[in-house]
């Protein structure tokens, strides 16, 4: 069993991991940048180690510093959270070389899935459908690929995830400018500027499947629909995927499990699919080899603590859950409350939080690291917290979401709470099953 767990992350997910680890009797050690030294996760962790200054490249992304910190703190395992180094194979290797367990999949899985192109190839091997597109290593190759696929298209970071480095290109004359931006963003987020090209599907839904595996067995914990996105950042996530025939949902879940078994997946992971909103045909996009931001909606409907499962599997225990034991109940919706300015095209807005009144009550869960007096540094992403509601039916969950959003009061920085209230009030959202173009049609 894990005795001392290092947490190589920050924000709400660091706090989330600390809570479950402490409940399991594990001592938690949090690596912090100087900008986060007085954060709530730092206060809650049993111990903290200073990694370096605020910018991620000198702290949370600095593999040598993070590994040195966990070695000096005598940790026997590390939870990487999401983002940062969570899917970095070089990091996982450095951790393994230091004799420390990595709470995540095998290094070869990270290599296969971290490289989104290799992931496409593995999915094809497992018999999953993928979108037209592929590798484009040079500027000339990007142009050639674009000419072959046609516009609009998507540029995606090969090392990507979380929408960073992902940009839509509508016209050939924009390709060079957008390519520069995508590469710079990919470099900043992942330390790797390589991008690839994929066809853009206009009427698509983003549906994903939560997976758990122990290297031998793999099961799914149902679907999540994350179609409501802006700048390829998910804003609203729900479980299960609504307004979808049971057979279509089962087909996607089976495909995800097939991929997990094909690669001998170990730990928690998520297979992402693009689903045609009209006929429910689906294409494999990527497999995220980590805990996802939106994991709480799956926890809400299944009652499974996914972080606990991750820690158990990382300890070397076989999966105790079987597919038959997973019995989803009701409907859950998560909205991301971000520090962003709705009056300036939702530009990230760092600053000082003067008041944070989060919703509370039956069927309401809030995962946040933000309380009054907290600082939102400009170095990291804009997520302030996640509001998760759960109810027996989707209709009741939407009603609960509306009530919760009406009470939320965050002061000091502008937030996306108002945007979510508009989304919750939209009749298309009430029906369910919207596509990724939803936000463009949203009433002011």
């Amino acid at each position: 069993m894990i005795r001392r767990l290092f947490i190589a992350n920050r924000g709400e997910i660091a706090l989330r991991v600390i809570r479950t680890a402490q409940a399991m009797g594990i001592t938690t050690v949090l690596g912090v940048s100087s900008a986060d030294a007085a954060s709530l996760p730092a206060l809650m962790a049993d111990e903290t180690v200073l990694l370096g200054p605020g910018p991620s490249s000198q702290s949370y992304l600095a593999i040598d510093k993070v590994v040195a910190a966990m070695v000096s703190a005598d940790c026997d395992a590390v939870h990487p959270g999401y983002g940062f180094l969570s899917e970095n194979a070089a990091f996982a290797r450095a951790v393994a070389d230091a004799g420390i367990r990595f709470v995540g999949p095998d290094i070869k899985t990270l290599e296969g899935m971290g490289d989104k192109l290799a992931a496409r190839a593995l999915a094809l091997e497992a018999g999953l459908p993928v979108l037209p597109g592929g590798e484009a290593a040079t500027r000339e190759a990007v142009h050639a690929r674009a000419a072959e696929i046609g516009y609009p298209l998507l540029l995606k970071a090969v090392a990507g995830g979380g929408g960073k480095g992902m940009r839509r290109v509508d016209r050939a004359e924009d390709l060079d400018t957008v390519l520069d931006m995508a590469q710079a963003e990919a470099q900043a987020a992942f330390g790797n500027s390589a991008v690839y090209v994929e066809r853009f599907v206009a009427k698509g839904r983003h549906v994903e499947v939560q997976l758990l595996g122990d290297g031998t067995h793999a099961i799914h914990l149902g679907t999540r629909d994350c179609s409501i996105q802006r700048r390829f950042q998910k804003l609203v996530e729900e479980a299960p995927a609504p307004a979808m025939p049971e057979a279509a949902r089962a087909g996607i879940e089976d495909a995800a499990v097939r991929l997990a078994r094909h690669i001998g997946y170990r730990g928690a992971g998520t297979a992402e699919f693009l689903v045609d909103a009209t006929d429910f045909s689906f294409y494999f996009l990527e497999l995220n080899a980590r805990i996802q931001v939106e994991h709480p909606v799956t926890e809400a409907i299944t009652g499974v603590d996914l972080v606990e499962q991750q820690l158990l599997v990382a300890s070397g225990k076989p999966l105790a859950l079987t597919q038959a034991m997973v019995r989803p109940f009701g409907h859950a919706i998560e909205v991301r409350i971000n520090a962003e300015d709705p009056s300036a095209d939702f530009r990230p807005a760092p600053g000082r939080i003067t008041r944070a009144a989060w919703p509370a009550g039956t069927g309401v869960r809030v995962d946040t690291h933000i309380s009054a007096g907290g600082e939102v540094p400009p170095f990291y992403d804009s997520l302030l917290g996640k509001l998760i509601v759960h109810a027996p039916s989707r209709e009741e969950a939407v009603a609960r979401l509306k009530a919760a959003l009406a009470g939320i009061r965050i002061e000091g920085v502008p937030t996306t709470a108002g945007l979510h209230a508009r989304i919750a009030a939209d009749p298309r959202f009430a029906l369910g099953g919207v596509d990724t173009g939803f936000l463009t049609g949203l009433a002011e």
Partner: protein, 149 residues
């Protein structure tokens, strides 16, 4: 320090249910470590809110302190705080150099804030006379980046 994590999400939901079923408007609990206020939400017909304050949790002076910058009509200012870059990527030539003609829509730099690359547009027409902020440095919102002539 925290094998006694004060209250988990289930505890909060239970306390909220107790308040909702009671004639009370709020619960305000202060300890040495934290203060929790659970109250009926302002302006909302139903529901409660939770407000936490933690002893010892507070900001270190970071970089967001918004300096008052003299409004220089010839300056291109940072639209938001973050790391200012002269070039689209390391090693690439800068977007603009002294002597370049720019128009309002010309991209003159990038400010990286919260992992997002935000293009900086000149906002006005002119000739770049001086580069005021060095490459790859933290800038505050409104800080002058270039002076135009």
């Amino acid at each position: 320090m925290s094998d006694d994590l004060p209250l988990n999400a289930e505890d909060i939901a239970e306390i909220a249910a107790i308040i909702e079923a009671s004639p009370y408007r709020e619960l305000d609990l202060s300890t040495r470590r934290f203060r929790l206020r659970l109250a009926r939400a302002d302006g909302a017909e139903t529901g409660l809110t939770q407000e936490w304050q933690w002893a010892g949790s507070g900001p270190e002076a970071v970089v967001t302190a918004e300096a008052e910058h003299a409004a220089d009509p010839d300056a291109v200012a940072a639209p938001l705080p973050g790391t200012f870059y002269h070039a689209p990527q390391p090693g690439a030539p800068p977007f603009v150099t002294v002597g370049d003609e720019v128009g309002p829509e010309t991209v003159v730099g990038i400010v990286e804030t919260m992992k997002l690359m935000n293009p900086v547009h000149a906002g006005l027409a002119g000739t770049v006379a001086e580069v005021l902020a060095p490459n790859a440095t933290m800038v505050a919102k409104g800080q002058p980046l270039f002076r135009l002539a």
